[in-house]
Amino acid sequence: MATETKHPVGAPTPRNTTLGKVRTHPTQNEGLIFEKSSPGKRAVRLAPLDVPEVDAATLLGDALRAEAAPLPEVSEIEIIRHFTRLSTWNYAIDLGMYPLGSCTMKYNPRVNEFVSRLEGIAEAHPYQPESLAQGSLKVVRELEQCLMEITGMDAITLQPAAGAHGEFTGILLVRAYHESRGNARRKVIVPDSAHGTNPATAAICGYEVQNLKSNALGMVDVAELERIVDEDTAALMLTNPSTIGVFESEIHRIADVLHAKGALLYMDGANMNALVGKARPGDFGVDVMHLNLHKTFSTPHGGGGPGSGPVACKAILEPFLPTPVLARRSDGALGWNYDRPQSVGRVRAFYGNYGMFVRALAYILANGPDGLRQTTEDAVLNANYIRASLEDLYDLPYKTASMHEVVFSDRRQAARGVKTGDIAKRIIDYGFHPFTVSFPLIVSGALMIEPTESESKDELDRFIEAMRAIAQEVDETPELVKNAPHSTRVSRLDEATAARKPILRWHPVAG
């Protein structure tokens, strides 16, 4: 059993102490669901069997399971309480600002959830006849067209299940394209500011990763790029705006340098929330890119997924898209086309994370062209407002204009022994989720802040106040920051022991 720290009997519980926008509130203790289990309790009643019972031992023989799996035995009210209590231990967008840079933690509209659960949509089977799937296919078609228009691309696949899966698909397209011209080429160039998924993707697609150092502005060093791009280069994987939230203003030169050597420009669309309705990658030289529907298009992150990572590309890559692709038949009906001899193959069973398509399309329909543009402007406005309000207290390593996120460093605070991770833990006490810590790698002690458009001026002001208060604490009481958080259910957790002696599942206590 867990050891719980006991509150001294008779000592008053601190109440009404407000820090910024928060005041403490009790959360309930809750053990593992297995610890609530007791034989004979149950939460389910099946409908009576309307066919004859069978003898499982006869039907399955040796393949019969001897003992039921020891799943918990609990009642429905216990399940609701269990998960509701657990839920209260989470921070979430629904509770407040979640400025996790690169993750685009924006509001997840509830109508999206509603429409994705409509019976005819949620219960459609991938193998039901196409004549009975025209509604499902219409949604795919509409979303594909919206996303192609938004990105300025010619073709698209919605099959990839998440951003990294989209990267994988995109780089396979690049590879198939080069192979069709006689040589798959050997290497993929990845800037040192890139997300870890980029080099990992290039590696699993069989490419050697060549690192590209950023220039003094944190941007692609075009001269250096020109030096290393050669006939062995398959592609450059570029995030634009970059992970420091800066638009690569020499993007077209970058594309030209690549194209001159027959290499392609892959864009990681993680930061597309800075561009929708304002600029289109297809217009500035990008050949292939992925989108994250769970970032830019408001589908929920859900504690780490599901995502969806459509890949959009120029016409030259269209023949290589994963099978199947959606096509319009001669009679006007929509259907899947499997006859794609040059395809890279399938990247996922069925057609992708369809439920996410429904949500993303609902978001696009709720916004329209003017709403999407205003959304982008507000996202950039919010980031710049934070920058303008904090740059006197936090070091701004790159002064280039910020788009949808701003990256500070902990240089000034580190001088007092306080690191970005400490500041992150302390802002929890003020009722915010921390920014992204220690990324991108090109900034030492990075604080990567992406507010998204979903924050009101009031919430931003509270965040700014909190960050300013922490800067003051660093000067006056650095230990307070170094030992944060002080208000959470658990204090800092021992990650070293967790990794050294992993406990990855619960075991029943003997006796």
Binding site: P70, A92, I364, D494, L504
Partner: protein, 450 residues
């Protein structure tokens, strides 16, 4: 623009602090020639009621009121109401990957519970926090086996879901990981053990089978394991119909289990989002892809949970990571966790037994019709079965559709050697009346012919 929480006056005040006149000015870093100076050509803003109408229209276009015998990797099981009540709590729905453990203990503990339940069901020591789905999970399992053994070749049963096999082929082809497909025994519908044995070489990293396989037949896992292990290859068992674990012996001889958890309370939703998961033996943990939640203590000695063993992952290891996976299927894994908690020890077994009974009755009832024969009858099966018919599948399907029945999946696309064959699935949701109606539709041919 109902999702944007700012008034014009507030925007103006913010612009003033930044020192620009308009938000558009903030985009000056984008070269002018790449700025979009027109509206995107997408549909105009809709009100919430219009959005709902739009999707209701789409749902209606799909047709409704059909009895379904479709399975083949996507299974219709009853979804208890509380699953959606729980996963729609904003604290779960709108939270990110639990990197900040102090404020994500809810998600972390739920993942830990998920990992435990998957271990208990599959007989493995450890399970990860999820993969995208069963097909990509299988592909990742093959890559994992290659890392563990230092060998490159894989042997894959033809009875594995054809779309899973396609995905594995896509993953393997660019990494120099060749594979061989092993056929099945025409009588039993199980992987042909002699061919399997002959296919394994010194460079075989793994044998991958699905059980219950694509025909619904339970493979002989102990025998397959013996053959694979004798030559130093790992055994990967892919499970597409997870509810089978309530009745079917867990594949404890496997080295890696790649499970699709869709059956555990996840809507079919035209094929996704689903929830893959990889489970394995303890000794292979460090070669596992994907996130893992682990138990630990906080500074005050309270039990807590963290994401752990991250040195395998891309955000730390970059190009040397075990996989490029980042976002997984966390919320869907939570659905599965709630589902398994609702069904519990007894419920899971009862549910699996009902599936067994329903499929057996459906098979007998359908196969009793003239011109209809069920295949692989000597082998153990769970809730799917293959019917061979004298009539072409299209003709049968047309008659079934008239009766508002979605019959079995046509197998000719993948297994032309079976002739006019269909793969049927019956779960606890299929009623006896539906089965009898389907049988009547199959029999209707005689009436026409007579």
């Amino acid at each position: 623009m109902r999702y944007l929480p700012k008034s014009p006056a507030e925007r103006a005040a913010m612009l003033e602090r930044i020192g620009v006149r308009s938000a558009d000015e903030l985009f000056h870093v984008i070269p002018d020639e790449y700025r979009l100076r027109r509206d995107l050509a997408i549909p105009a803003q809709m009100g919430e009621s219009e959005i709902i109408e739009y999707f209701r229209g789409a749902a209606q276009q799909n047709g409704s009121g059909f009895a379904s015998f479709l399975g083949a990797g996507c299974y219709r099981h009853y979804r208890p109401v509380i699953i959606d009540s729980i996963v729609q709590r904003g604290e779960f729905l709108t939270s990110y990957t639990p990197y900040q453990a102090e404020i994500t203990q809810g998600t972390l503990q739920a993942i830990f519970e998920f990992q435990t339940m998957i271990c208990e069901l599959t007989g493995m020591d450890v399970a990860n926090a999820s993969m995208y789905d069963g097909s990509t999970g299988a592909a990742e399992a093959v890559m994992m086996a290659s890392r563990v053994t230092g060998r490159s070749h894989s042997v894959i049963a033809q009875t594995v879901h054809p779309e899973y096999r396609e995905v594995m082929a896509t993953y393997a082809q660019h990494q120099g990981l060749p594979s061989t497909t092993v056929g099945y025994d025409a009588e039993t519908g199980r992987v042909n053990l002699d061919l399997l044995d002959a296919s394994i070489t010194e460079d075989t990293a793994c044998v991958l089978v699905q059980s219950p396989n694509f025909f619904g037949v339970v493979e002989d896992i102990p025998a397959i394991a013996e053959i694979a292990h004798a030559k130093g290859a790992l055994l990967i068992v892919s499970i597409a119909e997870a509810v089978s674990l309530g009745a079917v012996r867990p594949p404890v001889e496997a080295d890696i289990v790649s499970l699709e958890a869709q059956s555990f309370g996840v809507a079919i939703s035209y094929g996704g989002p689903f929830c893959g998961v990889i489970a394995t033996k303890e000794k292979f943990i460090r070669q596992m892809p994907g996130r893992l939640a682990g138990q630990t203590l906080d500074a005050d000695g309270n039990r807590g949970f963290v994401l752990t063993l991250a040195t395998r992952e891309q955000h730390i290891r970059r190009e040397k990571a075990t996989s490029n996976i980042c976002t997984n299927q966390a919320l869907v894994a939570l659905m599965a966790t709630v589902y398994l908690t609702v069904y519990g020890r007894e419920g899971m077994r009862e549910l699996a037994m009902q599936n067994l009974a329903k499929a057996e009755f459906a098979r007998r009832t359908l196969a009793a019709q003239t011109g209809v024969r069920s295949l692989f009858d000597g082998s153990p099966r769970f809730n799917e079965f293959v019917l061979a018919t004298e009539e072409p599948v299209a003709e049968i399907q047309a008659r079934l559709l008239e009766q508002k029945i979605l019959g079995g999946v046509d197998l000719s696309r993948w297994y032309p050697e079976l002739g006019h064959a269909t793969l049927w699935c019956a779960t606890e949701l299929n009623t006896r009346a539906q089965m009898e109606a389907a049988a009547a539709a199959l029999a209707a041919r005689e009436a026409v012919g007579a």
